[in-house]
């Protein structure tokens, strides 16, 4: 890791930035946290609302086991303390998007305690530039509904589809010290959640959003007063909030002002944060244990099942790839997204040589996907098809150049590599007789150059290789061409 600490230069000197993130991640589950209503994104307003979600009189919440399981698995994935006994509390406040008049959450006894997430600031060398960010807790809670103020001149509309959907609130410690660290933390958390399958990490659809806590201080000083910027919905915006908010705070402090503890909003169009409400008008949420629910008690069998169902996580997978000889960079690239890692694991399972496979995947496949704007889930080439192509390279049937050509045809037609080689005669030749004949023709057509080469112009060797390959339509085995040329040019 670079030793240069991130600081912002102000008029009075250098300022350090202290960042903590509270990430709300929607739990992947077909049903809501305390009702059987569906959770699909994009449904018609108020079509995914049960009597419980609408807070009809006498309706009661019943915990959804799957949501609890996902929270526990997430906790296990960040090596966190799993609390066998936890409890739901009510957070009371009135608002039109909150039919019950309270949100069921976990203030006093969260289901997951302290854990940690390792981030990396250098893709090329993830282990060397690592930092461990503490996670304070994870608790589960209900989401609120959605208000729409732009549908009618004098009325607001409310959509309760999201009301009661399960969220995990993942609270970090104030361990991040720069926009880059905040970004890396959020990306890594998202990666882990997607590996675990507990959240789809889709920030555009609001499945993941962050409250960004920022404060500034001079080196060695106590923590400054923090502000909380709510509901930031992309990695880029989180990084921008850290930077803009830190700068704003420094300006305030250096012009003799004071930072007020308050809630702020980020305006991406103006790239600035704005005050939403200060601590003085903060709600008194009157948290207390929800009397409709018994404490959650997790038994050994449940915990065992949660643990057993965890997949290999990104860091472990990356180290496994590195142990196979794959470069740390390629290993990091391939493990960042769970879909890519799954695809590559399937490729490895075919028995291909890992290093060659990694190089081909990160350069050829990822390049092609980038070019065509596709993601790996929709890759036109399956791991088995890739294995077939890699096999033809390994056994010398295809040269690098030919392999590229075959891959292009695979992308276009969806055909298998062997079939393409067969149909189009793209097979590489190592037939020395044929190669000798072509070289003889090339030498005959370039007698002056042969003379120059023999006179000591060694550099012309490449010219003969190029001419021979060209004459053979790229299908000659480059190693054999080299050997024969050396012999014939003498």
């Amino acid at each position: 890791m670079t030793d240069t600490k991130y600081t912002i230069r102000g008029e009075t000197g250098d300022w350090e930035v202290v960042v903590g993130l509270e990430v709300h991640a929607q739990v992947t589950s077909n049903a809501k946290l305390f009702s059987g209503a569906a959770t699909a994104f994009g449904a018609e307003p108020n079509t995914q609302v049960s009597l419980v979600d609408a807070a009809m009189p006498g309706m009661l919440p019943v915990p959804n086991r799957e949501c609890i399981r996902q929270a526990v698995r997430t906790g296990m994935a960040i090596d966190a303390q799993i609390n066998r006994w936890s409890r739901f509390d009510r957070k009371n406040y009135f608002y039109a998007d909150l039919p019950q008049g309270y949100q069921i959450s976990q203030l006093y006894h969260p289901i997951v305690g302290e854990g940690a997430i390792d981030i990396s600031l250098d893709d090329k060398n993830p282990d060397a530039a690592g930092k461990r960010i503490g996670v304070e807790r994870i608790h589960v809670e209900q989401d609120a509904g959605k208000l729409m103020h732009d549908q009618h001149p004098t009325r607001s509309y409310v959509d309760l589809n999201r009301s009661g959907v399960a969220l995990m609130e993942i609270v970090s410690k104030p361990d991040m010290a720069s926009p880059a660290e905040a970004g890396a933390y959020l990306r890594k958390l998202r990666s882990i959640l997607r590996y675990v399958g507990s959240c789809d990490g889709n920030m555009e659809e609001g499945s993941m959003r962050a409250d960004v806590n920022v404060s500034v201080r001079k080196a060695g000083d106590e923590l400054g007063t923090r502000t909380e910027t709510k509901n930031v919905n992309s990695v880029r915006f989180v990084m921008a909030v850290v930077e803009q908010e830190a700068k704003r705070q420094i300006d305030v402090l250096e012009s003799g002002g004071r930072i007020v503890q308050e809630t702020r909003l980020y305006d991406p169009d103006r790239n600035e944060t704005r005050s939403m409400r200060s601590k003085e008008d903060a709600h008194d949420y009157r948290y207390f244990p929800d009397p409709d629910l018994l404490p959650l008690e997790l038994d050994d069998a449940f915990l065992e099942e949660c643990r057993a169902s965890l997949p290999e996580l990104p860091d472990t997978k990356r180290r496994r790839y590195e142990a196979l000889g794959i470069t740390p960079y390629a290993a990091a690239v391939m493990t960042a997204e769970v879909e890519a890692a799954r695809w590559f694991d399937a490729l490895l399972d075919t028995g291909v040589a890992p290093v060659a496979a990694a190089n081909w995947t990160t350069s050829e496949l990822f390049g092609a996907l980038n070019r065509t704007g596709r993601d790996i889930e929709n890759s036109p080439v399956s791991p088995d098809q890739a294995a077939e192509l890699l096999g033809l390279i390994a056994d010398g049937t295809l040269s690098g150049t030919l392999a590229k050509q075959v891959f292009e045809i695979m992308l276009e037609t969806g055909q298998g590599a062997a079939e393409i080689v067969e149909e189009r005669g793209l097979k590489q030749t190592s037939d020395t007789g044929e190669i000798e004949r072509v070289i003889a023709e090339v030498m005959a057509a370039n007698e002056d150059k042969v003379a120059d080469y023999r006179g000591g112009k060694d550099k012309l060797f490449g010219f003969f290789v190029g001419q021979t390959m060209k004459a053979m339509g790229g299908k000659a085995n480059p190693g054999v061409v080299n050997d024969v040329l050396k012999k014939m040019l003498g």
Binding site: M56, P57, V62, Y102, S156, V158, R286, P291
Partner: protein
Amino acid sequence: MTDLTDLGVAAIRDGVRAGTFSAREVAEGFIANVSKAKALNAFLVETPDHALAAADAADAARAAGETLKPLAGVPIGMKDLFCTKGVPTTAASLILEGFVPPYESTVSANLWDAGAGMLGKLNMDQFAMGSSNETSAFGNVISPWRRSDGGNAPLAPGGSSGGSSTAVAARLCPAATGTDTGGSIRQPAAFTGISGIKPTYGRCSRWGTIAFASSLDQAGPMARDVRDCAILLEAMSGFDAKDATSLDLPVPAWEAGLSGDLNGKRIGIPKEYRVDNMPAEIDALWQQGIDWLKDAGAEIVEVSLPHTKYALPAYYIIAPAEASSNLARYDGVRYGLRDLPEGAGLQDMYAATRADGFGDEVKRRIMIGTYVLSAGFYDAYFTQASKVRTLIARDFEQAWAKCDLLLTPTAPSSAFALGEKSADPIAMYLNDVFTVPSSLAGLPAMSVPGGLDGAGLPLGLQIIGKPLDEQGVLNAGLALEQRAGFTARAEAWW
């Protein structure tokens, strides 16, 4: 011919089964009684069609030679706290005026499944908050009882299940449902000379019952006698996956298990229940009850429940705290009353709707509950009260080492006159002093009539049992009933 409305649940059930009379005759008899008893104001909604349909179904089943359901032919009254599909349900509050639930509470559904029919929705204290039925937004329920000293002051039927107690005592229905949060089944039963049992917390599903204080609310039956209570409770109880606090246990055959023989049972007499200023008549009845249980074969032991005196204050912190949150949903947005003044915003609508919709007692408890949960007061009140609750439960657990059941008076007085205590909330709250501790501990408890006081008003005795020991409670209640020979009834004046 006997007046069919003099019959209780068991007699009606057996008579319908035997063909002694038809279920329709029974339903019609009670429907007639209901329509003649408007002066009591016990019913908020009358549903004769519901009762008749169930009766006809019972008669048809009998005619077809089918096995009759456990409550076939039995019409009952439903406290208006239970949501009933297609039938207005208000919890006796203006804030729910016009609300017609599109769903049936689990308890009422269980009763209909057992063959019972509904005569109507019964008046009650608003949101079950009250001990006299004077907090209903739809007028007081008047007890059928009058003092024998010639005083004609209308008396309180007890609360919050005051419509239920009056309806059963006045023969408007053979039995009714009640709910009990701190005594709301037992105290009105005692005031009107009927029986009522609050089962172990979790026996009856709370799903579809409008919540007052979730950790305390339990449904239970109110009826003429112990057997009828057992029959009804069997039908009302049972595990419900829709209530996370529901007990996943089979429902015992309580009626079949009834026995007034208490040989081998030890009955505890908690010394802390001898409170100051308790009328001598109640003390005397308590002693009488002790003698009756001894006569039934029980051994009497004195026990101590040292934290009893803290129960009432703890209850009046916990129950309002939960209520303040449970009642937040009545906001004018989705159902019931909406008061939207000209030019009002969201907060104005909340304020106007809740100001107009809730009665004074409900507002008082919402304010108390909000206060005790507020930052800075939470530990001093709510946390402390929760600790007291734990200690109360421990008191009972320790008592169970020495005895199987407890005998106490149900209430510290007989029925008082309407208006007598309504200006003094504390005096009103003191009515719950004997019923609240067992509510806080979630224990089964029942009130059975023991006798009349000097003014000719009923007094009740309370049996408290171990968790899940409804059978023990019912059996001790039966032993008392057999010896008390309580046959007094209110003279019809309405």
